[in-house]
Symmetry: C2
């Protein structure tokens, strides 16, 4: 692998925005995820779900997050000098996501700063937005990712 192919902290700039992928929601996988990790009736049982305010099966919010995580990894994280993440905030599930939907996501850099404690590292705060096939915003999330710096400890 050529180091120059990777994204380092210096390669993320405030305001950068890009699509990161799209995914059709398969009912079988969606329900399998919920059976394992979030077995509430409106996520796993078609009949029970129809009786709820959702009117039918909806994805676990964590399944939507997991699909977006996979988009991040495929679209840029696995070609970056990623050092992981200390956390996320503001996960907002705005509209139900349902079997058969196709979601797509974008990323936007909302903050970038060097680590105060570790000169080899920089932090990038990103906002992700997720839309369905009707162009409705269904989920947003903000989180911080840590990346190795190309020029440790220097100004960018």
């Amino acid at each position: 692998m050529q180091e120059t192919e990777k994204y380092y902290w210096e390669d993320f700039h405030l305001g950068d925005t890009a699509p990161i992928g799209e995914q059709h929601l398969d009912a079988v996988e969606m329900v399998a995820f919920a059976r394992a990790y979030d077995p509430q009736p409106f996520h796993i049982d078609e009949d029970a779900a129809r009786q709820t305010l959702y009117g039918g099966l909806i994805a676990s919010g964590w399944y939507t997050v997991a699909l977006v995580m996979r988009m991040m990894v495929d679209s840029y994280l696995n070609r970056s000098a990623s050092l992981g993440s200390p956390g996320v905030e503001q996960v907002r599930w705005l509209k139900p996501v349902r079997p058969g939907d196709t979601i797509r996501a974008t990323r936007t850099v909302v903050e970038t700063r060097p680590s105060a404690s570790r000169p080899e590292m920089g932090l990038v705060k990103t906002r992700w937005e997720v839309f369905n096939q009707h162009h409705e915003l269904v989920m947003t999330m903000e989180g911080v990712q840590m990346f190795r710096r190309r020029n440790a400890g220097k100004a960018r």
Copy 2:
């Protein structure tokens, strides 16, 4: 099912705290989750993981979240009049979680209020704390859950 067995919004009180479960981390399931949703080297490849700052395989932060979600469902959500969640905030991955670890979680009610727009609904903000077998805090999360009210529109 007797309605009286369920937790309604009125049954959650500021400061209430309780354990919600524990889970041994199985390496096979942990890696399968990461291969599907978060295939970064330090989550899926033992050899590659050893070369990183983590020194070995660590769980995807979303896998830890998923295990805690399952604890929530089993310990109280599926016996409650849950109406889902609008989102979470402040997920903090404080220490790596590794195969073979046993994690346990607690919940604490940090805010409770009626819905301003929907008299049949109330909101409960909860903080979850996750510890490993060494009693180290490995993850925290705060989020809001919506519950049906036993006495819609009245003071509790």
